[in-house]
Amino acid sequence: MKCTRCKEPAEVKLRAHNSAFCRACFLFFFQRRVGRAIEHEKMFDRSSRILVAVSGGKDSLALWDVLASEGYQTVGFHLALGIGGYSQRSRERCESFAEKHGLELSVHALADEGLAIPEIVSATRRPACSACGTIKRHYFDAAALELGCDVIATGHNLDDEAARLLGNVLHWQTEYLARQKPVIQPRHEKFVRKVKPLYLTSEFETATYAFMKRIEYVVEECPNAIGASQLDYKAVLDRLENTSPGTKVGFVRDFVVRGSRAFEAPATERADTGGTCSGCGMPAFGTLCSFCSLRAEVDRKLALRTRPVSPAVTE
């Protein structure tokens, strides 16, 4: 198989693009594709200070690599989730990547404040991915504010977006559909824009980029992801993609271009986070934001467990 661009032997075939590339041409293709998504969706520009949320996986580290090599101003932010050896290895991958490339990295460890994911799950019985999402949103917003960033960039890829879109359609989650976009505008002055520069880049492509650039990333799955419905949606989409290459990119791109506006509420009906959380000072609908509500629930349930039991009355 020959490279579509230079006719040298190809190292990777992309059926969705009816193309094959050698290493040099694939890296050119990948960087240009990410760059076009950034420009087309007006995600940020050279003057922006970008908080890159890095997990230690292939997608976020590939994104950070592209942005840094293109000369964007980036700050990495890693939230250490406290999920045993998996989280330890994830943190090490982020730290070694930042050190190797001379990049600024900020790390926040949940275990330092007694909020490691396993402890939260054990105390509240909430699904791990639900608690994790609430916590990540809070810390990403807080870190962007603290580190003076204009925008938060995450490594969500095409497969993530296609799986989420399928799940949202299957359950007609209209509020989520309204906000499933490559650029999410802030609802409060303390929040910044959130962007997904890899939203049209498949996870096969990000894995290929990470391999070719010799990026050391955590290959293993988060242990809490086992059995997650998102993986079932991905498996279904993989079968469709195999039968009809280009299905995923068409599904996501056409939803963004033509579908999402049907779910947007009129400006006058949009909910606004007008209040301030009495716990952390971040915007909130009520007196506590969802993160501080979760933290209060954890504290309350742990206190119940550790409360001394009254001695039994005997006659």
């Binding site: 190292e11 075939k13 292939k58 498949s202 894995a207 290959v219 993986l231 991905k234 195999n242």
Partner: protein, 62 residues
């Protein structure tokens, strides 16, 4: 010898191309990187009986 996406070592005989190997293991193209040494292999790449191949899952999420 082949290392499958679950990290298990397998001996797969009688396959001459990557696409045959993936079909034999019931793996869809595009869901794994097919790695030989420092190189990625396309579906039509020829395999030798002495090759050591790593199949690395690209799927992440939760």
């Amino acid at each position: 010898m082949c290392l499958n996406p679950q990290g298990r070592q397998l001996d797969v005989d009688g396959v001459s191309r990557v696409q045959d190997l993936l079909r034999r293991l019931d793996i869809l193209p595009g869901t794994v990187l097919v790695i030989r040494g420092d190189q990625l292999l396309t579906d039509d790449a020829r395999l030798d009986a002495s090759d050591e191949i790593e199949l690395r899952s690209v799927v992440s999420g939760g």
